[in-house]
């Protein structure tokens, strides 16, 4: 890339990427897409790309006139002067950051098959964190203990936070995604909540306080993992703002 026009265009594209990444890193927006520990790598990438944008815009004008070099091989889809035409696509996701509401996965991404499978990865690990004094538990801990350790039912009050996946007769389904790297690999956890009052609207976030109703003793082991067999009888349902970390991590 030695043609000045191609360099300007490259600088524009790189600036959009760095700006979009920067926007996601302000506040908690990036946590709707990737795991929290990606903050530093993403920040370094944004800085590196911004540096490259500056270099591309200002660093090449020391009399380098080999512009005749890079004429496109048709196979690569090069535009004239060295900037591959495909590079413009890079603008799309990072411009979308400025255009669309920045939301985590929600109810429409929950597929019923494969729900709660995330707990099978901890089959042989006991729940590490006992519930806090007020019963606060991650949904992953709660479902793990219910599914993997039916001999030790979850006693007393629990406080679970998630979003409403669906409203049902006599309650609703509370959901949360478990994410390893990014939203593309997120897996849903689903719990049935019994609640007589008006359930919160779909996709609203809520903290549910209640007690676990163990599944019937004759429930087949492979059915214990299904949402309708993981039931919490709620004593209170509090609608809350979306938490800073919309996902749980395994």
């Amino acid at each position: 890339m030695t043609d000045p026009k191609a360099l300007t265009r490259a600088a524009i594209i790189l600036t959009v990427i760095a700006t979009g990444l920067g926007r996601l890193l302000l506040g908690d927006a990036y946590r709707s897409y990737v795991r929290p520990s990606m903050f530093v790598p993403l920040l370094l990438s944004a800085l590196a790309i911004a540096g490259l944008a500056l270099w591309t815009a200002f660093g090449f004008d020391d009399g380098d006139d080999a512009a005749a070099g890079e004429h496109g091989h048709e196979d690569h889809g090069h535009a004239h002067g060295g900037l591959p035409r495909i590079a413009w696509w890079l603008i799309v996701p990072f411009a979308c950051v400025a255009i669309v509401p920045l939301r985590p996965l929600g109810s429409s991404s929950v597929r019923s098959s494969g729900a709660n499978q995330a707990v099978t990865q901890r089959a042989e690990r006991p729940v590490e964190d006992p519930p806090a004094a007020d019963g606060t538990m991650s949904l992953l801990d709660f479902v793990s203990q219910v599914v993997n350790d039916p001999a030790h039912p979850v006693d007393g009050e629990v406080r679970l936070t998630g979003f409403v996946q669906a409203q049902q007769d006599g309650g609703f389904v509370l959901a949360r995604f478990v994410m390893t790297c990014c939203a593309a690999d997120a897996q849903p956890l689903l719990v049935t909540v019994l609640w007589d009052d008006e359930p919160p609207p779909k996709d609203a976030w809520a903290t549910v306080t209640g007690t676990h109703l163990p599944a019937a003793a004759d429930t087949a082991p492979e059915e214990r993992i299904e949402a309708e067999n993981i039931v919490v009888e709620a004593s209170s349902v509090e609608v809350i703002d979306q938490p800073a970390d919309p996902y749980e991590t395994p």
Binding site: M1, T2, A10, L14, S32, Y33, V34, M38, L42, L44, S45, A48, I49, L52, W55, T56, F60, G63, D64, A66, G69, E70, D75, H76, P84, I86, A87, W88, W89, L90, P93, A95, C96, A98, I99, V100, P101, R103, P104, L105, S108, S109, R111, S113, G114, Q117, A118, T120, Q121, R122, A123, E124, T180, C181, C182, A184, D185, Q187, D203, P250
Partner: protein
């Protein structure tokens, strides 16, 4: 450059300033209009699901792409073809095997490995060896194996099977490429590298190579992310689950799912455990195919090596990966 700008040039510069300002205002207006027009559409339902996955894959890949592009630009700017040739055995089959082993030592991610392989070929490394490295680096590095061990607690044989099948895939594809790939023309890559070595300072070459590789590979990556997000949102998983019990078909099906989902190699083991209706062999195929061939990788390869290459390489890799996983699955 040292001449004082004449009147004409001054006017031209002012013109450029005005144009830049007009452009900036226009872009701001367009963004604001799109925001109010498209914002509500992407606030809920399937458009929101699509957008979240699309942005997530693009963002998640950036650090790995930057790392890979840094490495590829370092190779382009600072490593001479002679030095590369010294590292690898002269006999090409041996070079392929060494490149497979190098994949274990250099933790890469699939997004970063493609531009690195491109620069290795540009630096004169036999294509088959560079491609073996491309397949091995994201699949068998210690980080990926540790993630696999975490996802399958108490089943170290899954980790071993994954390591064996992935390394075998990388080496077998490399050896096959030695036989059938000779007619493929990588001279554009080599010519570009030679031309680039002839110009500018080393750091200028580094920045030029980094910008080129980032823009080239990144553009295709975004196309891959868009296709993957579309399929994730559109194809009902019940269709996939129904195919779980069908023996060898189920292995191929989960292999195809890996191609479509574009999960990072560090995360795919966790996703693999969620396919409960599938056999262990099919889940192994998911983990062996994923880092070797998926939509974003195919897109990256089109960008780096060309369309014709990807048309031959992707099916070859898929077939070898499924075969290796099926064989290794016998030990599960």
């Amino acid at each position: 450059m040292t001449d004082l700008p004449g009147d004409g040039e001054l006017a031209e510069e002012q013109d450029a300033d005005v144009r830049a300002m007009v452009l900036a205002v226009l872009v701001t207006v367009v963004v604001l209009v799109l925001r109010s027009a498209l914002g509500p559409t992407f606030a809920a339902g399937r458009p929101r699901a699509w957008m979240t996955v699309f942005i997530a894959i693009s963002v998640q890949a950036m650090p790995f792409l930057v790392l890979g592009v840094t490495l590829s630009a370092l190779i382009a700017a600072f490593v001479s073809p002679a030095a590369l040739a010294r590292v690898l055995p002269r006999r090409r089959p041996a070079a392929v095997v060494v490149a497979g082993g190098a994949g274990f030592a250099l933790p890469g991610c699939e997004c970063g490995a493609v531009p690195v392989a491109g620069r290795l070929i540009g630096g004169g490394v036999p294509a088959a060896a560079a491609l073996t490295f491309l397949l091995a680096a994201p699949a068998i590095n210690p980080i990926v194996l540790a993630a696999t061990a975490t996802a399958f607690p108490g089943h170290p044989e899954v980790v071993l099977a994954r390591f064996g099948a992935s390394l075998a895939t990388a080496i077998v594809v490399g050896l096959i490429w030695l036989r059938i790939g000779d007619d493929h023309d990588f001279t554009p890559l080599i010519e570009r590298a030679t031309r680039s070595r002839a110009t500018g300072s080393r750091w200028a070459r580094f920045a030029d190579a980094a910008a080129h590789d980032l823009l080239h590979a990144g553009g295709w990556l975004v196309v891959g992310a868009a296709v993957a997000a579309t399929i994730q949102v559109v194809v009902p998983t019940s269709v996939v689950d129904a195919l779980g019990g069908l023996g060898i078909v189920s292995v191929i099906v989960l292999g195809l799912v890996a191609v479509v989902l574009c999960t990072c190699s560090e995360a795919d083991a966790f996703v693999a455990t969620s396919f409960t209706s599938f056999t262990p062999t099919a889940r192994l195929a998911f983990m062996v195919v994923g880092p070797a061939v998926d939509l974003k990788l195919i897109a990256l390869q089109v960008g780096t090596f060309g369309r014709r290459f990807a048309r031959a390489f992707a099916p070859l890799t898929f077939a070898v990966a499924v075969a290796c996983a099926t064989i290794a699955g016998r030990f599960l």
